[in-house]
C-alpha cells in the first residue's frame, strides 16, 4: 500500500490517527487539541453498548493543527464501534503514526485495545504510542500492565494523559513525533 504525500492548497499535510477501544476518549482528545470544530458524526447508540456511552463516533473524528503556513497536522480518530472497523484502513493510509488510547480506569478494555493494536500493526509499519487516559482520575491499569498485555517493546512510549488537558495531549503527540524522529535517525544511521 503506497503511502501518499498530502498536499493541501500548496502546503504539506501530515496525518496522525488516534485509535483505541470504544469510549476510550478519542473524540475528547482530538477536540482538546484541534483548532477547528471536530467533525460531528456522533450518533445516539442503539445497541447494547449504550450503557457505557450515549453517543459514539460513527464515521470518524477529524481535527486540524496548523503548524505553520505550509504545514498542517491532521488528526483522525477511528470510529468507536466494531461495525465501523472498515474505516481503519481508510483513515490509516498515509499516516505518520498512530496513538492507541486506553482508558486507565477500565482494564477490561485492554483486550479490545490489544485487538485493535494487532490490526494496526498488521495494517501499518509506522511508529505508535500508547496513551493511558486518566481523565476520570481512577487508575486501575499501570504502565507495566499495559506493556505486558499489549506486548510492547521497551522503546514504545506509554504516556499517561488527560484527554481534556491540552498540555497533556501535546505530550502524547510529541511522544509520537519523537518516535518517528528516532526511527528516521536510526534509519539514517544504518544507511
Amino acid at each position: 500500500m503506497a503511502a501518499r504525500k498530502t498536499r493541501r492548497q500548496g502546503g504539506q499535510a501530515v496525518k496522525i490517527v488516534v485509535t483505541g477501544p470504544f469510549a476510550a476518549g478519542k473524540t475528547t482528545l482530538i477536540r482538546t487539541i484541534s483548532e477547528i470544530t471536530v467533525l460531528s458524526t456522533e450518533r445516539g447508540i442503539t445497541d447494547d453498548t449504550r450503557s457505557r456511552k450515549a453517543e459514539t463516533t460513527v464515521a470518524m473524528d477529524f481535527g486540524r493543527i496548523s503548524i505553520d503556513r505550509d504545514l498542517v497536522l491532521y488528526l483522525f480518530g477511528t470510529p468507536g464501534q466494531e461495525r465501523f472497523d472498515f474505516m481503519w484502513e481508510i483513515l490509516g493510509e498515509g499516516m505518520l503514526g498512530y496513538v492507541l488510547l486506553v482508558d486507565a480506569s477500565r482494564p477490561e478494555t485492554l483486550e479490545e485495545a490489544a485487538g485493535i493494536l494487532a490490526a494496526f500493526r498488521r495494517m501499518a509499519h509506522v511508529p505508535f504510542v500508547v496513551a493511558l487516559n486518566t481523565i476520570d482520575g481512577e487508575v486501575r491499569v499501570d504502565e507495566r500492565q499495559v506493556r505486558s498485555f499489549l506486548n510492547l517493546g521497551p522503546t514504545t512510549p506509554v504516556v499517561a494523559c488527560d484527554a481534556t488537558s491540552k498540555d497533556s495531549v501535546k505530550s502524547v503527540l510529541l511522544a509520537l513525533l519523537y518516535s518517528v524522529l528516532d526511527e528516521i535517525e536510526t534509519e539514517a544511521a544504518n544507511a
Partner: protein, 394 residues
C-alpha cells in the same frame, strides 16, 4: 454510506483532501436546502483524483455545457439519449464514445464543469455530505484532476466573486442592452455569444442555462460587459429607452396630420405571452393613453410606462428526460470483515497479566509485511522538527 457529516463542521476542502489523500474512488454527495428547495451535488473521485463534479445532480450539467457550446447536433444527441436510456451510460460519455464530439473539447468542458461545481459548493453556507465508496460515475469521460489544484482554483474564484457581484448582483438580475453607446464596441467572440442572448427579459440565471458555461464564467463575462457599458443591469428606476421614445413620439400626435405609427417590434418567441397594448401598430394617442394607464397601474407593465413587467421565465424549468437512472444515494456499505479484531468480554485487572501469552499467540498479532502502510517517504528529519516545534508551541 461510508462517510458522512456536516459541511458546517467539516469544510469541503477538508473532506476533499481526505478523499484525495486516501486515494478513494466513489461519489461525494453534498446536499443542502436552499431558498428554492433541496439541492444536491456530487463530486466524483477516482483513485483520489477528481473525475467529475456537478453542483446540481438533477441536471446533465456536462452535456448541457457541450450543447451550449454548439458542439453537438440533433442526431448525435438523440443517439446519446437513446443509449443513455437503454444502458445508463452518461450522455457526455456516450457522445464521446460515439465520436460525436471532439475529445479535447469534452476534456476542457469536464474540467470547467468540475471547477465550477466545486466553486458553487464552496459557497454553500451549510449542508451535509456523504461519501459512497466504490460508486462509479456513469458519465466518466476520463477526467483526472488533482483535487488540491481544483480547490486552489475554486478558492481564487471565491476571492474575486465579491467584485463580480458588485457589477452583476445575482442570478435573478435582468440584463438589457443600451441603445446608445459612448464608443464603438469592441467584443471578443465569447462576449458576443453572451451578448446575443441578452434581450431585456432574460436573467443571468437564464444565460447560465442557455450557454452551459457555468455561473462564474457567465458572470465574469457579464461583469466585463457591464463595466464597459455594453450591458446594463435592469433597474426599475431607470427609464426604458424604447418606452421613452414611444412616449415622446406620442407627443407629436397633436401636430401631425396622419396618425403616428410606432415601429413594429419583432415577433416574440413561441410560448411568450402576446404583446400588450401599445406595442404594435398603435396610434400615438392610444400609446400615450396606454402609457398613462400603465403609470396609473404599473403592475400591468405596459410599454411606455418606463417599467418592465416581470416576464415569465424564458427558460422554464423542465425535467431531464434523459438522465440515467441514479445509483442509490446511501447504499449500505459492505463492511470488510478481515479487519475486525478479536474482542472479548470483560476482563478484570488481575486477569490482565495472565493473558499475555494468549495475546502473543493471537494470529492478529502477526504482522503481514506485504501491502502494509509504510511511513511516507517524504517525511524527513526537517519536517519532523517543524512538527515538533509547532506542537510544542500550541
Amino acid at each position: 454510506m461510508n462517510l458522512e457529516g456536516s459541511l458546517d463542521a467539516f469544510g469541503l476542502p477538508d473532506v476533499v483532501t481526505l478523499l484525495s489523500t486516501t486515494a478513494k474512488t466513489g461519489a461525494l454527495g453534498v446536499r443542502r436546502v436552499g431558498t428554492d428547495g433541496p439541492v444536491e451535488g456530487v463530486l466524483w473521485f477516482h483513485d483520489g483524483s477528481l473525475s467529475g463534479a456537478s453542483s446540481d445532480r438533477g441536471r446533465a450539467s456536462l452535456v448541457r455545457r457541450l450543447v451550449g457550446s454548439g458542439a453537438v447536433d440533433d442526431a448525435a444527441l438523440r443517439a446519446a439519449v437513446a443509449r443513455s436510456v437503454a444502458d445508463g451510460t452518461g450522455l457526455a460519455r456516450a457522445l464521446l464514445e460515439a465520436g460525436a464530439v471532439d475529445p479535447e473539447l469534452v476534456a476542457q468542458a469536464a474540467a470547467d464543469q468540475a471547477i465550477d461545481a466545486v466553486f458553487d459548493v464552496l459557497r454553500w453556507p451549510d449542508g451535509d455530505f456523504g461519501f459512497d465508496q466504490g460508486a462509479h460515475d456513469a458519465d466518466d469521460v476520463g477526467l483526472r484532476l488533482d483535487p488540491s489544484g481544483v480547490l486552489v482554483e475554486a478558492a481564487a474564484r471565491a476571492s474575486t466573486w465579491g467584485q463580480l457581484e458588485a457589477l452583476v448582483p445575482g442570478p435573478e438580475s435582468v440584463l438589457t442592452l443600451p441603445v446608445v453607446l459612448a464608443d464603438d464596441p469592441l467584443l471578443t467572440r465569447d462576449e458576443w455569444a453572451l451578448l446575443a442572448l441578452v434581450d431585456g427579459r432574460r436573467r443571468v440565471r437564464d444565460l447560465v442555462e442557455l450557454t452551459g458555461c457555468g455561473q462564474f464564467a457567465v458572470t465574469t463575462t457579464l461583469a466585463h460587459l457591464v463595466q464597459r457599458g455594453l450591458v446594463h443591469i435592469h433597474d426599475d428606476a431607470t427609464p426604458d429607452h424604447v418606452g421613452v421614445v414611444e412616449r415622446r413620439l406620442g407627443l407629436l400626435a397633436s401636430v401631425e396630420s396622419a396618425p403616428t405609427t410606432l415601429p413594429a417590434a419583432p415577433a416574440r418567441p413561441t410560448g411568450e405571452p402576446p404583446a400588450g397594448p401599445g406595442s404594435l401598430g398603435m396610434s400615438a394617442a392610444a400609446a400615450l393613453a396606454a402609457a398613462r394607464a400603465a403609470q396609473a397601474h404599473p403592475q400591468n407593465g405596459a410599454p411606455g410606462s418606463g417599467r418592465v413587467a416581470r416576464q415569465p421565465d424564458v427558460v422554464p424549468a423542465r425535467p431531464e428526460p434523459f438522465q440515467p437512472e441514479r445509483r442509490p444515494e446511501h447504499p449500505e456499505p459492505a463492511y470488510a470483515s478481515h479487519m475486525a479484531p478479536s474482542r472479548g468480554g470483560a476482563m478484570s485487572a488481575t486477569v490482565v497479566e495472565g493473558a499475555t501469552a494468549r495475546t502473543l499467540s493471537d494470529p492478529m498479532m502477526q504482522t503481514s509485511p506485504e501491502g502494509a502502510i509504510e511511513r511516507d517517504a517524504s517525511v524527513n528529519r526537517s519536517l519532523l522538527l517543524r512538527l515538533i516545534a509547532g506542537v510544542r508551541g500550541l
